[in-house]
């Protein structure tokens, strides 16, 4: 087959597969997980009626949203009012394009677009998400959405700084922006925050893990803020702003915001996993006579069914890690109270920004001292 055609064909397949088979169901089931976990945390049961253990609840919800009257308030700016939900949803899905969610399957790399500016692309697209919210807030022509929109834009701008600064140590180390290379590096040298693989007894690596862990914490917290999750959900703080930027939205348009938020959460987790947690890589402890104890790398590079199983295993590992992070997100949400707005701003500008900045120097010094 013509390689270009083949590329187009596999890319389309990957796009459709990842968006419709993985991400969207994952989005709806993360909503379900959110509801169940929050219920359990609060000593309740949560949705358990539709289907076994309530597993069909997301489907019922989707049906409900689709069938609801699509109501447009009279005094909104129609064009932007309609545009906003799409703007909230699309960037969240687009970021996933550069994230490697597996090794290879049938020799095809499991990443939609392996571009060399991977992380920059992620930041560029993710920051577009704020437009959906700001436009929604403004076009609704109503005070609470407007406040939500304003809060959201300033919050996002503040936290994008630390977000960007937090990943710089990784680039210092890897010297690459391409996400597959970052994963590759972690396969060879161990995960950024837990470098067990390779020369794991090397003290420098562990020293390096300190700035990496700081980066990891700052980055994760910034992702919380980016995705408007509690404790940083001020743009939609119900107790203050009714519903925040989506107060005036209903039915499927509201659902798009809702899905967008969870999609952003998933892509955020995917990026954390890729940058800090080894991506699709899961080292399997192994022992044989030839090498003694060592870590076994499973990926899709083997021939025949072993390669297929390996590729699938990697995909599974990747999404498994993402799911664990999602549960963590949920867990945090149902534990922590919401920040006050001034606290949020202070935290972003006074703490995380500084920490990330100092962290860069720390990492740079360590890397500079690193014996080659």
């Amino acid at each position: 087959m013509n390689p270009t055609l083949f590329l187009i064909f596999t890319s389309l397949l990957k796009i459709v597969g990842i968006v419709f088979v993985v991400i969207l169901p994952m989005v709806s089931y993360s909503v379900y997980a959110e509801r169940r976990v929050s219920a359990l945390i609060q000593d309740r049961l949560g949705p358990n009626r539709v289907g076994p253990a309530g597993l069909f609840q997301p489907i019922a919800d989707a049906m409900k949203f689709i069938l609801k009257e699509d109501f447009t308030p009279a005094n909104v700016n129609k064009f932007y009012y309609w545009l906003a939900p799409c703007l909230a949803m699309v960037p969240a899905l687009m970021t996933i394009a550069v994230v490697p969610f597996g090794s290879t399957l049938f020799g095809v790399p499991m990443v939609i677009a392996d571009i060399n500016v991977g992380v920059l692309y992620v930041f560029a697209i993710a920051s577009l998400g704020v437009y959906g919210i700001v436009i929604a807030g403004w076009s609704s022509n109503s005070k609470y959405p407007f406040l939500g929109g304003v809060r959201s834009s300033s919050q996002m701008i503040s936290y994008e700084l630390s977000l960007g600064l937090a990943v710089i140590p990784i680039f210092l180390l890897v010297g690459q922006l391409r996400l597959t290379d970052i994963v590759r590096y972690q396969i060879e040298n161990g995960w950024m925050i837990a470098p067990f693989v390779g020369h794991w007894t090397d003290g420098w690596k562990w020293l390096l893990a300190i700035p990496m862990s700081i980066s990891f914490v700052v980055f994760t917290i910034a992702i919380f803020a980016e995705t408007n999750r509690l404790p940083f959900d001020l743009p939609e703080a119900e107790t203050e702003l009714v519903g925040g930027y989506h107060t005036e939205y209903g039915s499927m348009k509201f659902a798009l915001f809702f899905l967008g938020e969870y999609a952003a959460m998933i892509t955020g987790s995917a990026i954390i996993v890729t940058l800090f947690l080894g991506g699709w890589h899961l080292p399997v402890p192994w022992w044989n006579h030839a090498h003694g104890f060592h870590w076994l790398l499973i990926d899709g590079s083997l021939g025949g069914w072993r390669g297929v199983i390996g590729g699938l295993f990697n995909i599974f590992v990747f999404f498994g890690k993402v799911s664990v992070l999602l549960l963590f997100f949920i867990w945090v949400r149902w534990t922590l109270p919401r920040f006050r707005y001034d606290q949020l701003m202070r935290l972003g500008w006074v703490f995380f920004f500084e920490i990330a900045l100092v962290n860069i120097f720390l990492a740079a010094i360590i890397i500079a001292c690193l014996p080659q």
Binding site: L40, I41, Q42, D43, L45, W331, V332, T335
Partner: protein, 176 residues
């Protein structure tokens, strides 16, 4: 006058908040774990599990018209409940019992008796005001319907819910 609230002095680990956050997460995780292990059980699965048998005597469910042992619907359409009902849920059309009927000596009866259960607030005023011991709040609480019209209990429905009450004052029996 402004009141100055003195804030507690925090030491540095408290100022970091992290221990508190982790402590909080441990608590929520504990709840989650106990729920998963089935150690906490507070939620009742409503339509399957019910609490009806333990309902207290003073429970105020749907108001209904009762009959006495003699089979007489006790209401005489005095309309006091209609008057007292705070949300004006009750609507009565009084009528005269035709001569020759079994209870003609009571003279007056409700031709129509509607309680709009969308309006009813289960306050029990109607039961309290009724001079004839004719209306009681029964234990029915699952009052549902698909339309507004369905939610209006008419006389038949009210009598059906009400059933027979024993041991009421039977003053009309002494009438000529």
């Amino acid at each position: 006058m402004a009141i100055t609230v003195s804030r507690p002095k925090l030491n540095w680990s408290e100022r970091l908040y992290l221990p508190a956050i982790l402590g909080g997460m441990a608590i929520t995780f504990g709840h989650l774990k106990n729920m998963l292990l089935g150690r906490t059980k507070v939620t009742m699965q409503y339509p399957e599990q019910k609490w009806d048998s333990q309902m207290p005597d003073h429970y105020r469910g749907a108001p209904a018209l009762v009959k006495d042992e003699g089979g007489r619907v006790r209401c005489v359409a005095c309309q006091l409940c209609e008057f007292i009902c705070p949300p004006r849920a009750i609507r009565i059309v009084p009528g005269e019992i035709p001569l020759g009927e079994r209870f003609a000596k009571v003279e007056k009866y409700p031709e129509k008796f509607d309680i709009d259960m969308i309006r009813c607030i289960y306050c029990g005023m109607c039961e309290e005001v009724c001079p004839e011991q004719a209306i009681f709040l029964r234990k029915d609480y699952a009052i549902t319907g698909y339309t507004r019209a369905e939610m209006v209990h008419d006389k038949e429905k009210l009598i059906e819910i009400g059933g027979v009450m024993h041991g009421l004052v039977l003053k009309w029996n002494e009438k000529k």
